[in-house]
């Protein structure tokens, strides 16, 4: 009898092709997602070396980072961005890769469309030239971000040499209170373990609070694993996973469905399986969180205050906090609810799915956006946009004064025209509050969709737990 294994170990073992170089394992990659920003140099590399794409049918491309989100995604005024998108088109044509282009019904943020189309499935290895590839781990897949050289490697060989990470379990016990979202859970985790707390680990999220999350919530959770330093985060598949996948376009169909589910049911970690580190979180005590600084670990509950750098544990932390406060234009001791904002961004691979938009719309319904605030909603995909419009969510947002946009990464990283102006302060549902992330001099506060919606209405951070819903 073999020893008990974790979900991660099962995924890893299943994909070992060879182990030719010491601890470096050659892993087979089931699904390779490609976008316009991190792929052009990889395709050039293939051409320079006369190599082909080994498995075009396991490779799927879309455009998301650069695309304008103005109606119809057009025009692309930025010539360099247009050239990059054109390069992807040509590369996909030349190497016979499926591309969901700007005008396709399937277009969207790569980490939104993979799950939505049923391409992402339990038991798979999934890579993409994007650090938020960890999102797909929500399905019980081993999914991680890679650089452009690795993109080239996977295109050429459908394999990736990788050293085995250590195993971390994050056990979130208790149920998440009303008004607290998956985003708050993951911000709490990063606040607790730090932005490098999981470097070198693959995280498995478990416990009652995680089991209770929808697939959208699990995706939000896994999405931000990289913000704690982990390349991969995952949740064991269960009935929630199977219910989400059933009937999706590329999920197993008909007679193939039951055997697939039977296989997936074997993936959860065995009782007694070993983890190198276990982190406990009491989810029942969580509050909505707001970041105050320039990395996602700089976070406090909405009822809290901007911390005083003088209380930092180490000198390095003190300097970092002080620098962050200067950049953010905040004084220590300021109540989070007293911080006024200029912009609201609801979107990104973290929080742009239908459930996120529903949660935000419920808050906004019957209210108007504060006259001093500019707010926008950027659905994660064309499909999310369509479904939201069928439910009338777009009308709720528009009537309140939100911009309702086409799908893309948009102001999460501001590669397209959606950026903050210097000094502007934004309540954002995205994943990174780094300096200049949303535009040079822009000040980003990470929050859940509900918290972003409430801030849009009141003009400052507002505890959603006391909200009067219409």
């Amino acid at each position: 009898m073999s020893s008990p294994r974790t979900l991660f170990e099962k995924l890893w073992d299943e994909h070992v092709v060879a182990q030719p170089n010491g601890p470096r394992t050659l892993l087979y990659i089931d699904l390779h997602l490609v976008h316009e920003v991190t792929s052009p140099q990889a395709f050039d590399g293939l051409r320079e070396n006369g190599r082909r794409v080994r498995r075009p049918e396991r490779t799927v491309a879309t455009v998301d980072h650069n695309v304008p989100t103005t109606p119809g995604h057009l025009p692309i005024l930025d010539e360099i961005a247009a050239r990059q998108i054109d390069a992807l088109r040509q590369n996909c044509r030349e190497f016979e890769i499926r591309l969901y282009d700007i005008d396709a019904a399937e277009q969207g943020i790569v980490h939104v469309i993979g799950p939505e189309l049923g391409l992402t499935q339990p038991g798979m290895t999934i890579v993409c030239g994007d650090s938020h590839t960890s999102t797909h781990g929500a399905f019980g897949a081993l999914a991680f971000g890679i650089g452009t050289s690795e993109v080239e490697h996977v295109l050429a060989t459908q394999c990736l040499p990788h050293n085995k990470p250590r195993k971390m379990q994050i056990l979130a016990n208790g149920s998440v209170p009303h008004g607290v979202a998956a985003k708050d859970l993951v911000l709490a985790i990063i606040g607790q373990i730090g932005t490098d707390g999981a470097t070198g680990y693959a995280i498995e999220y478990a416990g009652e609070a995680v089991r209770g999350l929808s697939m959208e919530g699990r995706m939000t959770l896994c999405n931000m694993s990289i913000e704690a330093g982990a390349r991969a985060g995952m949740v064991a598949p269960d009935e929630t996973t199977f219910a989400y996948l059933k009937g999706r376009r590329f999920a197993p169909q008909g007679a193939d469905w039951e055997p697939a589910v039977a296989r997936w049911k074997k993936l959860p970690s065995d009782a007694g399986a070993h983890y190198d580190r276990i982190v406990h979180i009491d989810a029942s005590r969580l509050a909505p969180f707001v970041t105050w600084g320039t990395n996602p670990g700089m976070v406090v509950p909405v009822t809290g205050k901007v911390p005083d750098p003088a209380h930092a544990v180490t000198e390095a932390d003190r300097l970092a906090s002080q620098r962050a406060l200067e950049y953010m234009g905040l004084a220590a001791g300021t109540r989070i609810e007293d911080i006024r904002i200029d912009r609201v961004f609801i979107g990104s691979c973290t929080n742009s799915r239908l459930e996120d938009l529903r949660a935000a719309a419920k808050v906004v319904k019957g209210y108007r956006v504060d006259p001093k605030v500019r707010a926008m909603v950027v659905p994660g995909s064309q499909n999310v946009k369509k479904l939201a419009e069928e439910e009338g969510l777009d009308r709720i947002f528009r009537e309140a004064g939100f911009d309702w946009r086409e799908s893309g990464c948009s102001m999460c990283l501001g590669m397209n025209p959606d950026i903050l102006q210097p000094g502007e302060r934004c309540a954002s549902t995205s994943n990174r509050n780094f300096e200049g992330r949303q535009g040079r001099g822009g000040r980003t506060h990470l929050v859940s969709p509900m918290m972003a919606a409430a801030a849009a209405v009141t003009g400052h951070f507002t505890d959603i737990r006391g909200w009067r819903f219409h």
Partner: protein
């Protein structure tokens, strides 16, 4: 891959924790489809004022550090996005080695792929290097990858750990894709076993 054996170079200290790849090369420069020419965008928003002038406060602009090729950095260097543009910018600028207490995982992988050596040393050693690079004009550091040693001309000496396979790849300038392609038989066998073709 550019081979790496021994390098001696001018050291520049960057004493900030959690330097993320958005700082190393901001997003507006990721739209280019080339691999080269990113050096002028390195640390862009710190290095240049909003009107495009060199920011005299930022250490990269200090005259005594011109030509630096060894970056002494703080913990969790390279966190954030997977953009390989970050090591491309560092290499294009002339950096050959980064020495820090810790690195973000994807950044370290990307650096390795570009022959940019990431050396991990404990905090006290980093502190010494950081101080010398600040206080001693023209301070040079040598890294010998084969031996796994970092040293200077003032008596500093430290050993560092490095993955054997990666060391071999760097020393010999091996192409990892080429190495994987040598496993063609194993890959085909895997595909047959799992997908029946």
């Amino acid at each position: 891959m550019q081979p790496f054996r021994v390098h001696k170079g001018l050291a520049i200290p960057l004493d900030r924790a959690n330097v993320d790849t958005d700082q190393i090369v901001p997003k507006q420069f990721l739209k280019r489809i080339e691999r080269t020419g990113f050096g002028k965008f390195l640390f862009h928003d710190w290095r240049y004022t909003p009107d495009g002038e060199p920011n005299p406060e930022f250490i990269l602009n200090h005259s005594r550090y011109q030509g630096a090729s060894v970056l002494i950095a703080a913990k969790n260097f390279g966190c954030g996005s997977s953009r390989e543009h970050a090591p491309w910018a560092l290499v294009d600028y002339g950096i050959r080695i980064i020495i820090a207490p810790s690195f973000a995982d994807i950044f370290a992988h990307n650096s390795f792929k570009n022959g940019l050596l990431t050396v991990t040393l404990p905090d006290p050693e980093i502190y010494k290097l950081m101080r010398r690079a600040r206080e001693v004009e023209g301070y040079h550091v040598t890294v010998d990858l084969e031996a796994g040693h970092v040293y200077d001309d003032m008596g500093f000496h430290a050993a560092f750990e490095f993955d054997d396979h990666k060391r071999r790849c760097l020393l010999e300038g091996l192409d990892e894709i080429g190495l994987t392609l040598e496993q063609e038989e194993a890959i085909t066998a895997y595909e047959k076993r799992h997908f029946g073709r």
